[in-house]
Structures are given as structure tokens and as C-alpha cells.
């Protein structure tokens, strides 16, 4: 099954472009210290706000730090925020969705009302509200984004489970006396995994955008730790004199999120060609 998905995926060109980009980014993020031409935190006030040149490809920032090195380090931070946050939201969302859809009854009713309540709050507002109360910190940001962004996924997974529950292979498993927990884990869960993968891929892009937005409002990853969001944010104060401070992180965020979206859409089409348009 996985091989069929993979074959179909490779044929979708936009998805492939996205995947190549993501692999490159992953390598850059993991091996950032190797590529960094200079220490990303080393200040050189005499060299401040220099435009891109042969020695500093992306110029220097307001403290004379090398923007390229900070961008590379930032890739690591921004990507890990994206992945950890989505990891949290996927675990909760899938768990709630499978339990709710498979068990039904009052468990389902309670969980779905909880989802409804969460969906009434604009997610970004909820995140802001919580983060503005806490001391800022990178793990809190990951946790808060993850803990607030699962309800949508839970709904999708639940709907899928409701469909699966009525299919023959589940009925036969039940007839054979398989326990409910084993049916959920062995028969239902693997079948919703494809949806979860699509949602997770799209979610990482979303989480990176959210972190950037939070940084912009001063609630994201705190300087001096570099994240694409906070490089961009400090760049906005020098918008007249140093275009490169704003241009590179903005482009990096755009390209990364775009890549995640392309891969996510291609995955969806590969998994379910009937939906492909």
C-alpha cells in the first residue's frame, strides 16, 4: 500500500518539488552549525547593517551579526517549533478522534462538545491569550500551539472512524472476539493514518506561520535565540535602511510553508486519487 502511495506521489510534480525543498531544509536545519560561516550570536557593532556582500551573503543585522548564520540557526528553531507543536496536536487529535468515533455514546458527546468549544475561539487568539500570561519560552510556545490546534484534526479522524466502524473488516474482527482496544489500535488507527499524515504536513507549515506571527507580536521565540520570525521582526524597525533583514526571513518562511503545503496536497492526492482535481 505504501509503495503504491509513493509511486503516485512521485508522479505529482509540485509535491516532488516541495519534498526536495523540505529534505534540503531538513539537512540545513540539522547540520546548521557546520554550514554557519560565523557564530550566529557574535556581535560586531562596527559591521552593523551592512548590505549583502561576498563576505556576508545575506548582510549583517543591527548588532553586526551575520544574517546568513542566523537564518541557518533559525531554520533549526523554526522547524523544531513546527514539528514538536504538530506532534503534540497530532497525538491528541488522533487519540480523541479515534476514541470518540469508535466508542460513540456519551464519550463521543462529551469530547465533541469540547471540540466545538475549542473551535469557537479563534486559535490564534487563544494562543495569544495563554502566552501573554506565561513567561515566554520556546517549549511553552510549542506546547501552546500544539494544545490549541488539535480540534480540527479530531473532527476529521472521528468522521473517518464512523465510516470505518461500519465496514466488514471491523465487524469481522469484532465477531472474532477482538477487544475494543485492539480493534481501535490495530484495525481503525492504521486506516486513519493517511489522513493524519496529510493534516500533519499541512500543520507544520501552519505552526511555522503561527510562530512567526507570535514573534512579530513579541510573544514568540525570544531574542537572542534566532528564529525566522524574530529576525524578520527586528528587521521591520530598519525597513527603510536594511531591506535584507526583512526579505530573507520572509522568503524563507514563505518557501518553507509553501513546500509543506505542496507536499501535503500531493500526499492527499496520492492517498486518495478520487479527491484529486
Amino acid at each position: 500500500m505504501l509503495r503504491i502511495y509513493l509511486q503516485r506521489f512521485v508522479r505529482i510534480r509540485s509535491g516532488l518539488v516541495g519534498a526536495v525543498l523540505l529534505v534540503a531544509l531538513g539537512v540545513v536545519g540539522l547540520a546548521a552549525p557546520v554550514f554557519e560561516p560565523r557564530d550566529p550570536d557574535a556581535q560586531a557593532l562596527a559591521e552593523r547593517l551592512r548590505p549583502p556582500s561576498a563576505s556576508a551573503w545575506m548582510g549583517t543585522d543591527e548588532l553586526g551579526r551575520d544574517v546568513l548564520s542566523r537564518m541557518l540557526r533559525g531554520a533549526r528553531i523554526s522547524l523544531s517549533v513546527g514539528f514538536v507543536a504538530v506532534g503534540i496536536s497530532v497525538v491528541i487529535g488522533t487519540g480523541v478522534g479515534v476514541v470518540s468515533g469508535f466508542l460513540g455514546g456519551w464519550v463521543d458527546a462529551v469530547l465533541m462538545r469540547l471540540v466545538d468549544i475549542m473551535l469557537c475561539f479563534p486559535t490564534f487568539f487563544l494562543i495569544l491569550m495563554v502566552l501573554s500570561l506565561l513567561e515566554p519560552g520556546i517549549f511553552k510556545i510549542m506546547a501552546v500551539i500544539g494544545l490549541t490546534s488539535w480540534p480540527g484534526l479530531a473532527r476529521v479522524v472521528r468522521a473517518e472512524c464512523l465510516k470505518l466502524r461500519e465496514l466488514e473488516f471491523v465487524t469481522s474482527a469484532r465477531a472474532l472476539g477482538v477487544t475494543r482496544r485492539a480493534i481501535m489500535a490495530r484495525h481503525v488507527f492504521p486506516n486513519v493514518l493517511s489522513y493524519v499524515m496529510v493534516a500533519a504536513t499541512l500543520g507544520v507549515g501552519g505552526a511555522i506561520l503561527t510562530e512567526a506571527g507570535l514573534s512579530f507580536l513579541g510573544l514568540g521565540v525570544q531574542p537572542p535565540t534566532a528564529s525566522w520570525g524574530n529576525i524578520l521582526t527586528s528587521g521591520k524597525d530598519y525597513i527603510h535602511v536594511a531591506w535584507w533583514l526583512m526579505a530573507f526571513p520572509g522568503l524563507a518562511i514563505l518557501a518553507t510553508v509553501l513546500a509543506f503545503n505542496l507536499v501535503g496536497e500531493a500526499l492527499r492526492d496520492a492517498i486518495d486519487p478520487r479527491q484529486a482535481n
Partner: protein, 325 residues
């Protein structure tokens, strides 16, 4: 229909309770009490004074009593007074509502005005060059960081070209302008925030229109309409397009929280006097009553929007009523 309405209203009440509970719970996360945060900066506050303030606001009570009291007041839209200037929270919120409404109505209008033709063109010319081009635009729209887009717009139209104002809702000389002058002035100030707000929604909506239309034009009744000799434009407008409109009502409800969530960013950038900026300022200065009031009102509005959308759907589409009752 009556039973459907009753069921929906009952759920609404449960959800409202849940919303207030979540807002209240989030506020309990704050380290120290609200009084500490409101008074820490002031050297003149003695411990006795703090106790008195705590009593005054009821913070010495257990949480469920506090929640009960707060709930009893907030169902009457009394969210207390702002810590910052002592004005009633509800007044501060209500005075910003028209501005936010103005911005969102313009944004929605812009989204629909462009999303429907874009989606229709891509669906009717599926896989053509123009469809692919629009597809790229849509993906970029999904992936663009809102505030980056806003900054680029400001830089381009506000600074390099100098055509448009980059902040606020009115110019300094607003008072001296004629009626038309005032209207033009506000319109000028609206252009950039509306463009920013509409961009992501536009991508989302045009994508949706395309997918929905592609599904509908393959239906038998569309083929039948074409087969009996109706003109292509009649087939499209009367038979295909109308059927994509129904779910759009629901989408409108779903987009509302996103628009309000985005408002925190772009209202801050453009210094636009709306709910988003009020919320941002309140959060930054830890003005609890305003944050709690705003959270409740925003969630309540979303709920109301969704309910109206669902009711609209139930009226137009009988299948909805039957399935859910």
C-alpha cells in the same frame, strides 16, 4: 424545523458555558494574582491595600465562587471595568465593534468578489495555463506570513510610491474635511488593511470554489441541462453555480474566527482601531477584565455566526434538517 432549532439552542447554551469556563480557566494560569500584576509597578501599594483590592474584586474566594460571580455578571454583558482606565469593558469593546465590522465586511466583499470568478475560471478551464497560474497564486496565498505581506504593501504603497496612508483610520485633518472628503479619507486608510486581511481568505475561497464547481459540473443534472439544449451560461449560472453556493454559507461561518484571529496581527501593524488591537493592548498590559470580556464576546460572535450559517443551510437544504434530527 422547530425541533431542530430547539436542539441547536440547547447545544448553544452548553457551548456558551464551556466558552466562559475556558476563558476563566486560561486567566487562572497567570502567575500571582491579577492584583499583583495590576499593582506590582506601583510602589505606593501596601500589602493591606492589596488585600483590600483582592476582597473588592472577590479574588479571595475559591475559584468556583469567582467563576459563578463572573458568569452571573457576564450573561448581562457586564465584564467589569478595565484595569487601565476604569471604563466599563463592554463600552471599550462596543466602541471598537463598528471599526472591526467595517473592516471585515469590506474584506468579505473583496474575497467573494474575486474568489468566485477566480475559482470559476480555474474550474471551467481545468489544467489550462491559467488554472495552473491561479493555482500557484492560491498556494502562495496560503503560505504567506500575513505581517510580511502587510510590511511589503506598506513599503510599496506607503513609502516608495507614497499613494496610501499606512496607519490609523483617519488623517489628522479629518475634522476639517467635507463629507465626501471624509469618506475618501477613511476609504484610503482601509485599502491596505483590507488587502492584507483578504489575501489568505481569497486563496482559501477561490480554491474551495474551484473544487466545489469541479464536483458539481460532473453531476448528471448538469449534463442533463446541457443535453436539453440550454445555453452554456444558463447551465453554469442556474444549474452548476447555484449548487456550490449552499456550502459557502457554512464556510463564511468558519472563516470568521480566522479573520478575527488574523486581526490581532494586521490591526497592530496598521494601527487600526479595531477589536484586535484592543485585545493586543489589553494582553500586553495584562488588563484582565478586557481580555476576558473580549475572549467571551469573540467566541460568542463566532458561535452566533455558525448558528446563523447552519440555520440558513437548514432552510435552503432540507437534507440538513433530516439528517441532524
Amino acid at each position: 424545523m422547530g425541533r431542530y432549532l430547539l436542539r441547536r439552542l440547547l447545544t448553544l447554551i452548553i457551548l456558551l458555558l464551556g466558552i466562559t469556563l475556558v476563558t476563566f480557566a486560561v486567566m487562572q494560569l497567570a502567575p500571582g494574582g491579577p492584583i499583583d500584576l495590576a499593582t506590582d509597578m506601583s510602589a505606593k501599594i501596601s500589602p493591606e491595600m492589596k488585600d483590600r483590592l483582592n476582597k473588592l474584586y472577590g479574588f479571595d474566594q475559591p475559584w468556583y465562587i469567582q467563576y459563578g460571580n463572573w458568569l452571573a455578571r457576564s450573561v448581562q454583558f457586564d465584564f467589569g471595568e478595565s484595569f487601565k482606565d476604569g471604563r466599563p469593558v463592554i463600552d471599550k469593546i462596543l466602541e471598537r465593534v463598528p471599526n472591526t465590522l467595517l473592516l471585515n465586511v469590506c474584506t468579505m466583499a473583496l474575497i467573494f468578489l474575486f474568489a468566485i470568478p477566480i475559482g470559476a475560471v480555474s474550474a471551467l478551464r481545468q489544467n489550462s495555463l491559467i488554472d495552473r497560474g491561479l493555482g500557484i497564486f492560491v498556494f502562495v496565498g496560503f503560505s504567506m506570513p500575513t505581517f510580511w505581506f502587510a510590511l511589503i504593501l506598506m513599503l510599496l504603497f506607503g513609502i516608495f510610491l507614497g499613494w496610501l496612508p499606512v496607519s490609523g483610520l483617519r488623517s489628522l485633518d479629518y475634522g476639517e474635511l467635507s463629507a465626501t472628503g471624509r469618506l475618501l479619507d477613511v476609504a484610503q486608510h482601509l485599502i491596505l488593511p483590507v488587502l492584507t486581511a483578504a489575501f489568505t481568505g481569497l486563496a482559501f475561497m477561490s480554491r474551495y470554489t474551484r473544487v466545489a464547481l469541479l464536483e458539481v459540473i460532473r453531476q448528471d443534472y448538469v449534463r442533463a441541462a446541457a443535453a436539453k439544449g440550454l445555453s452554456p451560461s444558463r447551465v453554469f449560472w442556474r444549474h452548476a453555480f447555484r449548487n456550490t453556493l449552499i456550502p459557502m454559507v457554512t464556510l463564511l461561518g468558519l472563516m470568521l474566527p480566522d479573520l478575527i484571529g488574523g486581526a490581532f496581527i494586521f490591526e497592530t501593524i496598521f494601527a487600526y482601531p479595531g477589536l484586535g488591537r484592543l485585545g493586543m493592548e489589553a494582553m500586553m498590559s495584562r488588563d484582565y477584565p478586557v481580555v476576558m470580556g473580549l475572549g467571551t464576546i469573540v467566541a460568542f460572535l463566532t458561535l452566533l455566526g455558525n448558528l446563523l450559517a447552519d440555520l440558513g443551510l437548514a432552510i435552503v437544504d432540507p437534507r440538513v434538517r433530516i439528517v441532524s434530527s
